[in-house]
């Protein structure tokens, strides 16, 4: 496992942890723990998006999916920086799978915000930026010898 791979996975773990807290915040709002969302001057948009029909996916609140997704990415990235598990090809493959799935879901949610609801929630934008950054960090390794999809880490 190269130093570059470890650095990327460390960055992924930190980003996933930040994303986990954003999702947790939105999930707690969904559960009624917060009366409103701290969203600056765009508070209306945040609550409008979070209270829309698109705030649920397959019967589960979208922030719940976010918690599960960021939690999974965090767990795998943390395992992926350990000498014992980091070199295992499945670590890279799982991260790649999650990154692609996460990016696809982010594109879907952002499209809904822009073209269906016509309202943008800042927390969603933050999460979208983090998800995209995680995808780029994962994709960075694809073309390299230490790239995760091929499982060539030594």
């Amino acid at each position: 496992m190269s130093r570059g791979t470890i650095r990327r996975r460390m960055a992924i773990a930190i980003l996933a942890l930040i994303g986990l807290f954003i999702s947790l915040y939105l999930l707690l709002y969904h559960m009624g723990w917060y009366g409103g969302l701290a969203c600056g001057s765009g508070a209306h948009s945040c609550e409008y998006v979070q209270s829309s029909r698109y705030a649920s996916f397959l019967g589960w609140p979208v922030p719940g999916w976010g918690v599960a997704w960021y939690g999974s990415v965090l767990g795998i990235a943390l395992l992926g920086v350990q000498p014992t598990f980091g070199g295992h090809p499945w670590t890279g493959r799982l991260l790649s799978l999650l990154a692609v799935g996460g990016l696809a879901f982010t594109v879907y949610l952002t499209s809904v915000e822009l073209f269906v609801l016509r309202a943008v929630c800042r927390w969603c934008v933050g999460s979208a930026v983090i998800t995209t950054a995680i995808f780029l960090l994962v994709a960075w390794g694809w073309g390299r010898k230490d790239g995760p999809p091929e499982g060539r880490e030594a």
């Binding site: 460390m10 930190i14 009366g35």
Partner: protein, 245 residues
Amino acid sequence: MANKSRKRGGRKSSGGPGRTFYIVLALVVAAGVVALFALRGGGGEQPVSQPMSVAALNQPADSSAGIVEGSADAPVTIAEFGDYTCPHCAEFTRVTGRALRQNYVETGKVKWIFYDFPLNQSTNAIPAALAARCAGEQGRYWPMHDLLYANQLQWVRSNDPQGRFEDYAGQAGVGDMDRWKQCYESQNYVPRIMASRAYGDQLGVNATPTIFLNGREVPLRQADYGSLERLIQQATPGGSSTGSP
């Protein structure tokens, strides 16, 4: 070499991440936990739903579950799906809805139907809808409706909003407060509120406020006074403007 490697990459020579990485993770965790509590507003009043039976919450859709104002013969019908805890709805009522009702409903040109669409059952949305419907029993629905939206920030996070609702009911002109309290506490209108919500679901309502004008959904961007006034005039044979908010 190991020291050099640790300085550059923050990892041990064994290949794992260094202490710095775990310190950063711990700092992010600490900041995240503090932020979650800070965003809650220092442990103030938080909305808690009133206990309601599942049977009362699961209702079939009912198009007659809305509150109607205006002439049955009006050429234009506006149906509004709203949630009393929704900031957009409060803004819509304050800036657009109230003025449109004054200028078009009271002059017999528009029939306005308000459908409760409580988005989240764990907020004060249902209790507020209940408070308005109980005021409606004494003919004071719309003043209560407007007061709830006008004072939304005062009760939306309250753990027990009944006291404030009682004040608004008094201000709205509800005469028999004992009857209002009995109505509110009995929760008898919860099935009607949820039937209204189910009707919105059936129509594909995604968010609040959602406005329908003669059965056609008005895009959110057109839900301002000027646009709605134009749509009303287009739908009214020989209609003309009667004022602005």
